[in-house]
């Protein structure tokens, strides 16, 4: 449920590092808590994001939540297919359900995030 090659933050985003590009989505735990996702509001390519600040919103049949960036950088790609198929976030949160790709200002920021093990421990406390 929490792939070990990913990093996580306490707002329930995951990060996959590919060079200086961070691919960002929300965790299995987050999608499960939200329930059926009906809308994802994402920023535009070229926008900058800052660690700990909201970059978008995710709406489920139950609630609306902010999406927080785990790192600083510039958005180089947005998963546009989520506008037509937001349910992919539920079905494949770590794959097709990715949200943004960020060119990191400082890739070492990712080191400070939680490992899969640490994140799993964190959510088992939350749950």
């Amino acid at each position: 449920m929490y792939p070990s090659d990913l990093k996580y933050d306490k707002e329930h985003e995951w990060v996959r590092l590919e060079g200086d590009i961070a691919i960002i989505g929300i965790s299995h735990f987050a999608q499960n808590q939200l329930g059926e996702v009906v809308y994802v509001d994402l920023p535009s390519e070229g926008d900058s994001v800052n660690a700990g600040e909201a970059f978008g919103e995710i709406e489920s049949v139950k609630s609306v939540s902010e999406l927080y960036s785990p790192a600083d950088g510039e958005i180089v790609k947005v998963n546009a297919s989520l506008s037509d198929a937001p349910e992919v976030v539920n079905e494949d949160p770590y794959g097709e359900g990715w949200m943004i790709q960020v060119k990191l200002a400082d890739p070492s920021q990712i080191d400070g995030l939680l490992s899969a093990e640490e994140y799993e421990a964190f959510v088992s406390e939350e749950a």
Binding site: Y39, D41, E57, E59, V64
Partner: protein, 459 residues
């Protein structure tokens, strides 16, 4: 319902919490000139019979437009209201109900709102309409805010030919720091230049404008070039917000077809009496791409567990009762009863009835304009296309003319200067004082118009 007032101590505590010394501090945004600086002068109680007699006396002191031949418009029009409208409105299920949060017990109200929304979409050429707004002016201002959210910009350009009272409302919203407004005035032909390289293109400038706001017909009655406006706005990456008269949409091209992104307007022409200027309602419609940025309530059609059609409030996450700090608007209500009047009106007249009513208004307005010009007392300040309302310049004293025609039972139009500040219109101030706006509805007869023209000739 029990009313539980606060104690003096509680009031003091609340004032301290928000940093005020006195209740009056909460009203500092209300302009001084409209504040009552003395106690309310309310007389003592009356028995029912005395009260009815007193109210009757007050009512009889008025000269309502319904008792006259009215050519007054400028935002509020003397159309015929079919009697079925009042019969539907007075049903207590509609008349007394408050906002329908609970779909299980409110299917009738929700369906009525849904039907209303669908009709507004059909009229405006838009994909989504909300359950209504307070009035046309606030709908326009809300559209400006929405355009800022969509484009992530914070400046709007407004045609100076939008009704001056709507401009005031827009500026009131702007004062709160929501957005900046600049105006673009009209040319000598009474419309804004929408061509490439014209005044609008210059005003839209360097790509920081969220929307161009325009009204067609404008306050002068003239039809603006919405297709040109859409091209200029879209060239600048801005949205086109078009204000329309919903009754005239029976014959005019839908603003959506001309390229508008948001269509708003005042709903009063659709089955709502003039009532001294209100209440009526505003309508608000947009394209599907932008619907999550739309303000206001929205009713959707769905199916329940058993597959039956059901109506519910939808996309509520835009609204402040779900997310106060992220809501698209602080308006979380609507003018449901007035919107119901409009839906009933539209059902009563039907597609063809609406078109023929609009055609009658337009044809009669053109007839009256020719008759008034033939009197020699009026001149045409421009020759722009118009629908059911037009502006002429009077050769003499405007208020004396209106006074003497009022004595003969005619409401002789609305002096343009009475609509508010004309600073942004671009109209020559030397000309403005002589301009009178005439509106002609389907209620006016040829005899009334001929008699009116004769009375004008005899002045």
């Amino acid at each position: 319902m029990r009313h539980i007032p606060v104690t003096c101590e509680q009031r003091e505590a609340m004032l301290r919490a928000v940093g005020c010394d006195a209740i009056g501090d909460l009203f500092t945004d209300v302009p001084v000139e409209v504040r009552l600086e003395r106690p309310l002068d309310v007389p003592g109680g009356l028995g029912e019979m005395e009260l009815v007699s007193h109210l009757r006396g007050l009512a009889d002191a008025n000269d309502p437009a319904s008792g006259m031949v009215s050519f007054a418009g400028a935002g509020c029009y003397d159309h015929y209201v079919p009697s079925i409208v009042d019969h539907v409105l007075r049903r207590p299920e509609f008349f007394t109900a408050y906002t329908p949060y609970q779909p299980e017990v409110s299917q009738g109200t929700l369906q009525a709102i849904y039907e209303y929304q669908s009709m507004i979409c059909a009229l405006t050429g838009m994909d989504v309409a909300n359950a209504s707004m307070y009035d046309g002016a606030t709908a326009l201002a809300e559209a400006a805010m929405m355009a800022c959210r969509v484009t992530r910009r914070r400046r709007v350009v407004c045609a100076g030919t939008v009704h001056p009272e709507w401009q005031r409302t827009l500026l009131t919203y702007a004062e709160a720091g929501t957005f900046d407004v600049t105006f673009v005035g009209c040319e000598a032909n009474g419309t804004v230049a929408m061509d490439d390289g014209g005044a609008l293109a210059a005003a839209l400038g360097d790509g920081d404008v969220a929307a161009f706001l325009v009204s067609s017909p404008n306050v002068l009655g003239n039809l603006e070039d919405l297709t040109g406006a859409a091209a200029r706005a879209h060239d600048a990456g801005a949205l086109l917000v078009a204000a329309a008269n919903p009754l005239l949409l029976g014959v005019l091209e839908a603003p959506g077809a001309a390229g508008a992104d948001i269509v708003v307007g005042e709903g009063q022409p659709l089955g709502i009496p003039m009532s001294f200027g209100g209440p009526a309602f505003g309508f608000f419609a947009c394209r599907e791409a932008h619907m999550r940025h739309m303000p206001g309530r929205l009713v959707g059609r769905t199916v329940d567990l058993d597959g039956n059609t059901a109506f519910v409030l939808t996309l509520s996450t835009r609204e402040q009762h779900i997310r106060r700090e992220k809501a698209t608007s602080n308006i979380c209500s609507n003018q449901a009863l007035c919107a119901l009047a409009a839906a009933t009106y539209l059902c009563a007249v039907g597609r063809e009835g609406l078109a023929s009513t609009a055609r009658a208004c337009v044809a009669k307005a053109h007839y009256l304009r020719d008759r008034l010009l033939a009197t020699g007392r009026f001149s045409a300040p421009w020759d722009a296309p118009f629908a059911h309302e037009f502006t002429l310049a009077y050769t003499g004293d405007v208020s004396a003319m209106r006074e003497s025609l009022l004595e003969r039972g005619f409401l002789a139009g609305v002096p343009l200067a009475l609509t508010g500040s004309l600073d942004a219109t671009g109209i020559d101030p030397g000309l403005a004082g002589s301009l009178v706006v005439f509106a002609v509805t389907e209620k006016r007869t040829r005899v009334e118009m001929d008699t009116f023209a004769q009375e004008v000739s005899s002045l």
